[in-house]
Symmetry: C2
Subunit: 493 residues, 2 copies
């Protein structure tokens, strides 16, 4: 913890981070796993207190925060399990062949951690994407040391979680500076951390403006580093006619809940609802409107986000062609957001880039297309997204195969007849997508493969067995899955 952050203190933080990394990376995976589990245990011990502090700082309801805390400890344990199993290092062995001309050397490859990394806490997930969140958990699992920049919107929560981490550091006997915590609301701190010569990578979840600023800092370095920023997405949903003719009521309920979940403060909030003009889409929008009327305004994370919602919503509602379909019938009190569904013709949508901007909150825009061609044009006009949702029957899938194919290219996660909110934490999750959804579509920030962001492969050529790392030794003492002479196996070589 640091109250006054200067270039001098940043430098000593990063020096400490590197010293810790040099020791921490040498620990066997079981030790690192025990550390992750200890963090989970220490957080669990403080559950009541942490949830209360976070509730005070973020206005998120206790039930949601309890769920998010469970997700957070679950993530830590998931990465512990992953590294205890061990195959994530992608071990690969090509044995020597002295009979070949020229002789083939022995070559062995595995992933190793990048070094000391920076994790920026996110405002909308005070636990799961903050101090001990997914970025921290995956980076620690990989063997990196972590400097957390706590989010200024929940400083007490961040610090309380960091205290739990510090207890775990002591209990697990990992190096004292394996995780450090830096506070402060100035952008200069983030800039100094990203630009520091000892920083090797950056994890961030937040706004497009914030993410691109970090990318710019990283690009300005003498030695550029990767920035994994999850930035913005309007998560298009296409409602096809056949399903609307059959399931309009249940879809309206599903999407009213998805648009307003957590006051709309999710990266995967469905911001654009596309459909083809006609009775089916009209009926659906009318039912959706009825559901939205009933949703009570909810308190947002902090006043800045609430003001931003009000302003960007006002600006959106002011655009030519936009019509309000429905809004909460109750009035919003201080710091509360009232849900709004608006609609626009595809023609107007296509002629005004403003309609594609993210309004962070419980707002969604229905885009009414004249026909399939116009629907295709609308989808083609979109930039990279986290999710792309298909609401369709089998008949729709067949009638609109070309539109469906296009939907597959837009995002990291493609959903069929599910709402995009709710991001499952598992091996098959992709929480990522083409720019500007994230800065690097080849990685996910949720799920086990999030660990891959913090590692690089090294190849060891002509090493004797006794000096090889355990993952690459002939006997396969870690019993991991390896690619040996192009065959996947857990056998010894």
């Amino acid at each position: 913890m640091m109250q006054e952050v200067t270039d001098f203190t940043i430098d000593s933080v990063m020096q400490n981070a590197v010293s810790a990394f040099d020791e921490y990376k040498k620990l066997p995976p079981v030790k690192r796993a025990a550390f992750l589990e200890a963090i989970a245990d220490e957080i669990e011990k403080l559950r009541g207190q942490l949830v209360e502090i976070a509730n005070e700082e973020t206005n998120l309801p206790l039930a949601r925060l309890n769920g998010e805390l469970t997700r957070t400890t679950g993530q830590l344990k998931m990465f512990a399990t992953l590294i205890k199993e061990g195959s994530w290092v992608e071990a690969s062995i090509d044995r020597a062949d002295n009979n070949r001309n020229p002789p083939k050397p022995d070559l062995r490859k595995m992933l190793v951690p990048l070094g000391s990394v920076i994790v920026f806490g996110a405002s909308n997930f005070p636990f799961a994407f903050s101090t001990a969140g997914g970025d921290t958990a995956s980076a620690l699992a990989s063997g990196c040391s972590v400097v957390v920049k706590g989010h200024p919107a929940h400083p007490k929560t961040s610090l309380a979680v960091f205290n739990a981490i510090q207890s775990a550091i002591k209990i697990s006997s990992v190096p004292g500076y394996t995780v450090q915590h830096v506070e402060g609301s100035s952008n200069n701190i983030g800039e100094a951390l990203v630009k520091h010569r000892l920083t090797k990578a950056v994890g961030f979840t937040g706004s497009f403006k914030g993410g691109t600023a970090l990318v710019e800092y990283a690009h300005q370095r003498a030695i550029p580093i990767p920035v994994f920023a999850e930035m913005s997405s309007i998560n298009p949903v296409v409602f096809y006619p056949d399903t609307l003719s059959k399931n309009a009521a249940s879809l309206a309920a599903m999407f009213a809940a998805s648009v307003t979940l957590g006051a709309g403060q999710f990266c995967t909030n469905p911001g654009i609802l596309l459909g083809i003009k006609g009775e089916e889409f009209d009926t659906f929008l009318s039912l959706l409107g009825t559901e939205i009327n009933k949703v009570l305004p909810q308190k947002m994370l902090h006043s800045g986000i609430c003001t931003s919602y009000e302003n960007s919503l006002a600006e959106m509602l002011d655009q030519k062609g936009l019509q309000v379909v429905a809004q909460s019938s109750s009035e919003a009190k201080e710091m509360e957001a009232a849900a709004v569904i608006a609609s626009v013709s595809a023609k107007d949508f296509l002629s005004n880039e403003h309609f594609k901007e993210e309004v962070f909150g419980p707002y969604s825009l229905a885009v009414i297309c004249d026909d399939k061609e116009q629907l295709i044009q609308c989808l083609q006009s979109l930039i990279g997204q986290l999710t792309s949702t298909i609401i369709a029957t089998e008949k729709d899938l067949s009638d609109y195969a070309d539109v469906i194919a296009l939907q597959h290219t837009l995002a990291g996660r493609i959903l069929l007849n599910n709402a995009p909110t709710g991001v499952e934490v598992c091996a098959s999750m992709v929480h990522g997508g083409p720019y500007p959804a994230t800065t690097d579509s080849r990685f996910t920030s949720v799920g086990t493969t999030a660990i891959k962001r913090w590692a690089r492969p090294i190849c060891l050529q002509n090493f004797n067995d006794d000096i090889l790392p355990d993952a690459l030794k002939n006997g396969n003492p870690l019993n991991i899955l390896r690619l040996v002479n192009n065959v996947y196996t857990r056998d010894a070589v």
Copy 2:
């Protein structure tokens, strides 16, 4: 083929590349594999002619070019085998759990190709890193369409190889524009290709200046794209005392050959030879000098590279503290490079950044350290490398464990008692390394995993089996290795 390249033609090339991609990506892996094999066959048919043209354009000896052509067809076939096996797509399945609260959806993940990519031919590998080289082969294997920018130093070779690709396109019935070829020596063409909105990624092997220019273009785009540039490396080799006391003669022969192989025109050429002052290192350098004296000057790739070698060598030899250890005893004729070994004290090396610059050609600098501490300082002063070589006995490995550990952090490939030249094409190879060796240390440009540069993961949520891609279908019709509920298996689900 295009003689006059304009923005208009670049635009139509990229439009064609996207149209081809949209069809090509849908082909089953066996079809793509057959295409790669057809390219290899068509190149093999033209072997005599291709080797002759390349010899004329690059001055590389026929034996080397024959070997490089075999490597090139071998790479194409290797990627064909990889995609026929199919597990490279990292398929992952997490099954639904309706008993959980909330219910867990069915989630399935796999890698999909990025789109239309640009491959820049390299001057020093007219076959293996050019028109049908490793970048093209891996990109085509992934399912991307490719636009090759032929290297202006070997235009006829590039075009002749492209003709072989065109025959393979016809034979395999893949879309006509799956591979396109753009010629021209102007940098504007490269800039226009990298900046074109339809370009999704870039592969490059060449100079630091060239690579960083491409990165800058990519960064200037509205939608940034990855640039995989392999740029420069001086490939440090540390000779430890015990091995020098025993193996000086054989090491001198090994490194005289490595420094001068292919007129020193390899990315992995050992440019810095570090050792600790003393009789052992003196003897080794003297033996190395005797070997270097005997090496005849060799013709370089083209006059530009030869002039650049002469100029950068002259500038290097002019630096304070540098001493020439040995050079070829025969004089270099036109376009030929004479081998040179120089030496410098670690003190001078550490005080002059110039000594760390790459001299592309048969030159290497011995750095004489007073002691272990100074050796560590020299290694710490180096930036990212492709290779880091340890020449040591077991006693050295034990006596110098801290220096060895440092050597592991410098590069993508760490060698023990091997010369760094000679890059094996296999699954365990890492031809890559921390910046500026490459722009992205997480990927390799040689070996099967080079395919990962051209793909991104997508997650399909709640899809019915009949509309899932083959790699993710319940029955596992491709019989690939998949991660199913966190267990690796080829079983159906």
